[in-house]
């Protein structure tokens, strides 16, 4: 019985953290925000090479066959680094294709694992898609179930998002385009994505609090570091506690989804809600601690804040997930807890 990930998963995440801090640090990130496609040049191939893209893909398709619980630490790192690339979308899309198997999986998965093909997904209650300009395949939930549509058959309207490290588009396609993914479980794919995003949110929160703590130690006002004032201390302590209590909820969400527990819907929503609340609090706290400097585009903080806004608004917003938990707990029965 463990809540924390296994040591192997943590070691792998450490190596990804090193990769991201070398190849996708704040200067690279700033470049991605400003460039044409919102991506860090070369990073996708590197993520493929070290095995991030195939981490949860079955070995027969060239992946490592890990489950969601083992992928959590890597997802946290991609959150901590505010990575713009569609890591969560890859995780969800490959899971759907692998579960369906057959020709679709055999064709796409080996290419996705190596980074030679890119897929993106649309499973949330809205229909905004990220990585759309760049994707070769769209795996989407629609009225007919789940459908895989090649990019050539997809029309898109690009939207401006405040988080230009996560560009958004609305897509449309002929209702008969592409292939129906037989037996795909759209709801479980959604839960998978919710937990994966929740993991990223805890990483985002960590990173923002770390920035704020470092700033509070060095910035002086009234002849003392501002971190010595009780108001600043208590703001930061409160945000730290919120994120500390979100983390095990996310871990349970992962285990519940991976194990197919009867409470998996509730647990996935609880994970995204708790991590989202913690990340929002971390963002507000970090901004207030940084004050003016944190309000500038020149400072890194804004990229982390805006990613927090994106991830807490999309794939089901905060109130939406809270209500999904409420429907399970208050209207249904409180099912066996893990």
């Amino acid at each position: 019985m463990r809540v924390l990930p296994d040591p192997d998963a943590l070691d792998f995440a450490d190596s990804v953290r090193d990769l991201l801090s070398d190849a996708a640090g704040s200067t690279a990130l700033r470049g991605a925000w400003d460039n044409e496609n919102g991506l860090i040049p070369g990073l996708w191939k590197q993520l493929a090479e070290v095995g991030v893209l195939g981490l949860t893909v079955p070995e027969e398709y060239g992946g490592s066959g890990a489950d969601l619980t083992s992928a959590l630490p890597v997802l946290v790192e991609t959150g901590r680094a505010a990575t713009p690339e569609p890591v969560v979308e890859t995780l969800v899309g490959t899971a759907v294709l692998a579960a369906a198997g057959g020709e679709l999986a055999a064709h796409w998965l080996p290419r996705v694992v190596t980074g030679d093909a890119v897929l993106t997904v649309a499973f949330g209650p809205g229909q905004l898609v990220t990585a759309a300009p760049w994707a070769d395949l769209f795996v989407v939930r629609d009225a007919a179930g789940v459908r895989a549509v090649p990019a050539v058959d997809v029309a898109r309207i690009d939207h401006n998002s405040v988080d230009t490290g996560r560009r958004l588009a609305e897509i449309s396609y002929d209702p008969t385009a592409g292939t129906v993914v037989d037996g795909a479980d759209a709801e479980s794919a959604f839960d998978l994505g919710a937990v994966a995003i929740a993991a990223q949110l805890t990483g985002l929160a960590d990173a923002m609090l770390e920035m704020a703590v470092e700033y509070a130690k060095t910035r002086e006002q009234f002849g003392a570091p501002i971190g010595s004032f009780q108001a600043i201390k208590h703001h930061l302590a409160t945000a730290y506690v919120a994120n500390s209590f979100a983390r095990p909820v996310v871990a349970r969400g992962a285990f519940s989804v991976a194990s197919g527990w009867s409470t998996r819907r509730r647990d996935a929503s609880h994970a995204k809600y708790a991590a989202g609340q913690a990340a929002r609090r971390a963002a507000r706290t970090a901004l207030q601690v940084h004050a003016g400097i944190g309000y500038t585009f020149e400072h890194d903080l804004h990229m982390w804040m805006k990613r927090t806004w994106s991830l807490t608004s999309q794939w089901g917003g905060q109130a939406w997930h809270r209500e999904r938990v409420a429907a399970a707990v208050l209207d249904g029965s409180v099912e066996g807890q893990g």
Binding site: G124, S161, Y295, T296, F297, S313, A319
Partner: protein, 384 residues
């Protein structure tokens, strides 16, 4: 106790409403943090000035209508309810002008007020410095006495409107031996002159809403000292604790936002009742708080009219509206769901813009932490 609006205020309100209905631009102006937008906002204010709506509380000789506080509150309610543009001249007309009326020479009034009112000369703030944010009294930019005036050097930052403004007002250390609140002088000078370097700072939304201003031996004539030499702190503070505390953010602005939030709630509820119900309590809370803010300011204004001194109300005010503004916009973003982060020309982006603007509220004009200290120490009498 009588909350019925006096007939003359109601008449004033109606006149404002009619003019605004006929004149407010039907498409929103570009952001005033862009060069184009700045110019467009200047034009709008010039039109207001021509119709004598730019500075309603000012004496008629400077283009105002000598309106009282109640008329001002009514005007502001109408202004924001009409969806009129934000005021590019706000620093000047709401922050600096009351100080000029109180401490300025006749010459200063005549020279400075009319172009300020027409937005021909837009003012930037020169308060904070890189090492002096919350701790304003630690500022170090200096003014050295020379023949006929002062030589000013140093660096100001977070200068709102600094990127495009014409003039700056601010505090400078005129006595090099002094420390803290002493030996400061309040100076006024044009930004477009030798020795002044303006470096726009991109704010959260990516636009240059404020600037760093580097001052290198800039000459300011004696005639542009506001109040006495060495009296800068007193001059700057005298208006923060008076009516200026009221006018920094008018209730009409938040009431208009809250009413738009109600509209957004209703349109969401029509298509997705689950999403609406989940934030219903937050929506009504925001509306109630906007209404409470309106009533609190009205109460303060009425007491001011009765001659009561206005003191720490400005700190309580600032805490309340800054947190209210964030709550209104966070609730709106929750209603927008997936579309909350859509930006620029997207139809919902006004809420995102408003949210980003609101996030600065607990920081500027004295952080909310400083305001809570002020209330605890000056109102409740707790020990420092």
């Amino acid at each position: 106790m009588d909350l019925t609006e006096p007939a003359e205020v109601a008449a004033f309100r109606l006149e404002a409403r009619e003019w605004l209905a006929a004149n407010v631009p039907t498409t929103p102006l570009p952001s005033l943090d862009t060069a184009d937008g700045f110019a467009a906002h200047r034009d709008w204010e010039a039109r207001m000035y021509d119709a004598r709506w730019a500075v309603v509380t000012w004496p008629e000789e400077y283009g105002g209508r000598a309106a009282g506080l109640l008329e001002w509150l009514a005007f502001e309610e109408e202004y924001w309810a009409a969806g009129a543009p934000v005021r590019v001249s706000q620093n000047g007309i709401f922050l600096l002008a009351p100080t000029i009326f109180e401490f300025g020479t006749q010459e200063q009034k005549d020279r400075l007020l009319p172009p300020m009112a027409r937005a021909e000369e837009v003012w930037a703030q020169g308060w904070s410095e890189p090492g002096s944010g919350s701790d304003l009294a630690s500022l170090r930019s200096k003014a050295e006495k020379v023949d006929g005036g002062w030589r000013v050097s140093g660096q100001k930052t977070w200068s709102t409107r600094g990127a495009f403004a014409d003039w700056m007002f601010g505090l400078f250390r005129s006595d090099p031996e002094s420390s803290r609140h002493h030996g400061l002088t309040y100076l006024l000078f044009p930004l477009k002159q030798d020795g002044v370097t303006v470096r726009p700072i991109r704010q959260l939304d990516g636009e240059p809403g404020f600037a760093e201003v580097f001052l290198d031996d800039v000459f300011v004539p004696d005639a542009m000292v506001l109040g006495g030499v060495g009296e800068g702190w007193k001059v700057a503070m005298s208006t923060t604790t008076s009516e200026r505390g009221l006018t920094l953010r008018s209730p009409g602005r938040f009431m208009a936002s809250a009413n738009r939030l109600v509209d957004l709630y209703r349109s969401t509820a029509a298509t997705d009742s689950v999403a609406a119900t989940a934030v219903r309590a937050d929506v009504v809370q925001a509306w109630m708080d906007a209404d409470a803010y309106r009533l609190y300011v009205l109460d303060t204004a009425l007491r001011a009219l009765d001659g009561e001194p206005i003191g720490a109300e400005s700190s309580a005010n600032k805490l309340f509206w800054s947190e209210l503004d964030i709550a209104i916009h966070e609730t709106a973003l929750a209603l927008l769901g997936d579309r909350a982060t859509l930006d620029l020309d997207e139809p919902s982006a006004q809420w995102l813009d408003g949210y980003q603007f609101a996030l600065a509220g607990p920081i500027y004009a004295g952080t909310n932490e400083v305001q809570r200290n002020v209330i605890a120490e000056r109102v409740l009498g707790l020990p420092r």
